[in-house]
């Protein structure tokens, strides 16, 4: 037992010590979390009336963030595919950081669903065994299972690997590999099931399109790796971990294909709606042109489209892809572009016009923005702390106290 306690302090020391910038970053995150928690407490007291959601638009910014982050979580593991299936070594070494990202992103997803609930006190009703989970009929019950399963798988893989490394032992590939192999289809499943949540609703023609699931995956495989590329560059800067440029450029290349597919699928959808021009066109018209002078989403979605196309061009040309300035620019464009397109751009137009033809223009309130900010800050804090611990373990600077290694601090 003393080993465990000593090692606990080693971990604590590892994450609590850092330079000025590290503390500033943590302080910033804590302020954001404080703002979010305060806004959420108000929402608990007064109800979801503090949001801009109403009967016409019954899901809003929270579900938009949730949808985007499911993509990020799924895509983080996407890095595993080239690493293990093609034995591309430069990427193999950085898979762990993707898995930790998946853990943080899924945590944010779960939080976004929780704050969207009207009765958080009745959460247990939805759990299997103790509650009455409507499995397998309700798509939401599937989502609960796959998201929690995904969190568990990624936690197992990353913590097991870190535990072994911290003890200076080789991790057993026979244990890790099946889990990693499981995590790949599971990553696809979390995003597919989330798409099915929307797709399965015949009442909402905008979502009731089979292209939704493939488009979800394609756009996720743009935004998720874009975040990872930025993270890798930070990791490289603040630690002794070496991340090969080849790995970064390879991921950028894969992102170019994903964005190409995403734009193609978007084009197919756009053509279908505008060429056939049935009453179902209203939703897409609302997104890109406005409907009966209701245009609040239009500038955002046009911007998202412009960003996505620009990023695609920057990624597809080897010259701009392999230049860090243009590559990082493209990463930011993709993150913002997909965030708009798949967040607000997906959930809101499904409700506008609503099932009885009413147009209710939704824009998140301060409460919704602050709560969302808080959740994102929680996710970032979690990722920061995980990285702070994982990086020195990875490089061998941090080792646990064991019989063989009594000098560990």
């Amino acid at each position: 037992m003393p080993y465990a306690i000593r090692n606990f302090f080693i971990v604590l020391k590892g994450v609590a010590q850092g330079n000025k910038y590290y503390y500033l970053w943590l302080a910033f995150l804590f302020v954001c979390i404080g703002l979010g928690v305060n806004a959420y407490i108000n929402q608990l007291q007064d109800g979801l009336i503090l949001t801009a959601m109403r009967d016409q638009v019954s899901w809003g910014y929270y579900i938009a963030n949730f949808t985007f982050l499911v993509g990020v979580a799924a895509a983080a593991v996407f890095l595993v595919v080239p690493a293990y299936l093609y034995h591309f070594k430069p990427i193999k070494e950085i898979v762990l950081f993707g898995e930790l990202m998946a853990v943080s992103a899924v945590t944010m997803c779960i939080l976004f669903v929780l704050v969207d609930m009207g009765r958080i006190d009745r959460l247990w009703h939805v759990m299997p065994v103790i509650g009455t989970m409507n499995f397998p009929v309700s798509m939401l019950s599937w989502d609960i299972i796959v998201l929690n399963g995904y969190l568990a798988i990624n936690l197992c893989i990353s913590l097991y690997a870190l535990y072994k490394l911290a003890h200076d032992r080789e991790y057993n590939i026979k244990i890790i590999k099946p889990l990693i192999m499981l995590s790949i289809p599971w990553a696809v499943s979390i995003h597919t099931v989330t798409a099915f949540l929307f797709m399965g609703l015949a009442a909402r023609p905008f979502w009731n399109a089979s292209i939704l699931a493939p488009r979800f995956l394609a756009s996720a495989f743009c935004a998720g790796p874009a975040i990872m590329l930025i993270v890798f560059q930070i990791v490289r800067k603040v630690s002794k971990i070496e991340i090969d440029n080849r790995a970064i450029f390879k991921i950028a290349e894969l992102m170019a294909y994903a964005m190409g597919i995403n734009l193609f699928l978007f084009g197919a959808e756009y053509f279908k709606e505008f060429y056939s021009a049935t009453s179902h066109l209203a939703h897409m018209e609302y997104m890109y042109f406005g409907l009966h002078e209701h245009t609040s989403l239009v500038p955002y979605l046009r911007l998202a489209f412009f960003f996505n196309v620009t990023a695609f061009i920057l990624f597809v040309l080897p010259k701009t892809r392999e230049n860090f300035f243009t590559m990082n620019l493209a990463c930011v464009l993709i993150i913002v572009g997909v965030y708009i397109e798949k967040g607000m751009g997906l959930s809101i137009p499904g409700f506008v016009p609503d099932v009885l033809g009413e147009i209710y223009e939704y824009m998140p309130t301060t409460t919704e923005r602050l709560v969302s900010l808080g959740i994102i800050a929680i996710g970032m804090l979690l990722y920061t702390l995980l990285l702070k611990f994982a990086m020195p373990v990875w490089t061998g600077e941090l080792r646990f106290y064991t019989k063989e290694n009594p000098t560990a601090q």
């Binding site: 305060n38 108000n42 009207g118 409507n134 609703l201």
Partner: protein
């Protein structure tokens, strides 16, 4: 909504929030625990239902200062309720909307309406083009020349998409065809609202408020008993009335000044609703979705 945050405010609201969540350990108010652990309505034994009803009647009495009766009558045998609405008669007066609000204890603030009346311009489009309708029409007098009206409420689908969506089985279709919600089991995820093609489900965005003198204390567990903040509610064909023996008409049928609303047992060949279906040209809303509503619109001429 713009608020600056002072430290005091943060602490104050944190304390208040903690109070809302607080578990009353050792408190005399055991009903908080009982309501927390209350089971799903359909999983309770007869005795458990009895206890819950007693507790709820007590809670409502404390809240509204009135004696409540909460019935739990089950469905009558050989009954499948159906509804008819004569579009040629409806004058768009919205009396049904407010009769429903009073009968079913809908929140007055924020307002919650289970019936939405849509106004269409005659000669322009048909009722499928819902986008061409107007919900917030507000003339001096109805009916207005050149318009017709279509009230929409829960269509009591035989194949209800909302029931499929619910992750907790908090909403289901009863044997007499009424889709009901257990307001003590709903977690407020609002997936059913996204799934409903008729905008029939409504959410309590804030704590519902009803002046005590306007409350209807004659209630059913699955129907018009007062609801809570953060749960979904909907039309139940006035289950507290229609399940009586003898059953009563729904409040909207009763109030309609022009007799546009019909209600009855679809399994009874001699019922008025069956007569309408067999002799009028009826249609149902969004039939292409195969939700199979038991709500029939028709023209009496």
């Amino acid at each position: 909504m713009k608020k600056t945050l002072s430290r005091r405010q943060v602490i104050k609201s944190a304390a208040a929030g903690a109070a809302t969540l607080a578990i009353p350990i050792g408190s005399a108010d055991a009903s908080v625990w009982q309501s927390f652990f209350q089971k799903h309505f359909r999983e309770m034994s007869k005795d458990e239902v009895g206890e819950v009803i007693q507790r709820l009647e007590q809670e409502y009495r404390e809240k509204y200062g009135r004696d409540f009766s909460i019935r739990t009558d089950g469905p009558q045998p050989n009954t499948l309720f159906g509804y008819g609405l004569d579009l040629s008669r409806c004058i768009g007066c919205r009396r049904c909307v407010y009769a429903c609000v009073r009968e079913n204890n809908q929140s007055r603030s924020p307002q919650n309406h289970w019936i939405q009346v849509l106004r269409f311009k005659k000669g322009e489009t048909w009722v499928q083009d819902l986008e061409g309708s107007e919900k917030y029409y507000n003339p001096e007098k109805v009916p207005e020349p050149g318009y017709f009206y279509m009230p929409v409420q829960c269509q009591q689908c035989e194949n209800p998409p909302c029931v499929k969506a619910c992750p907790t089985k908090a909403t289901w279709k009863e044997p007499d065809g009424i889709v009901v919600v257990d307001y003590n089991w709903c977690i407020g995820c609002r997936f059913c609202m996204a799934a409903c093609p008729y905008g029939a489900r409504h959410f309590n965005w804030a704590a519902p408020q009803i002046p005590p003198e306007e409350i209807n204390p004659d209630t059913h567990y699955l129907g018009n008993r007062p609801r809570y903040k953060g749960v979904v509610e909907k039309c139940t064909f006035c289950i507290q009335r229609t399940r009586g023996n003898p059953g009563r008409y729904t409040a909207c049928v009763e109030i309609c000044p022009v007799g546009a609303r019909k209600f009855g047992n679809l399994l009874d060949p001699k019922s008025e609703i069956r007569y309408c279906i067999e002799n009028k040209r009826v249609f149902r809303l969004k039939e292409d979705l195969k939700t199979n509503p038991k709500f029939y619109y028709f023209f009496a001429t």
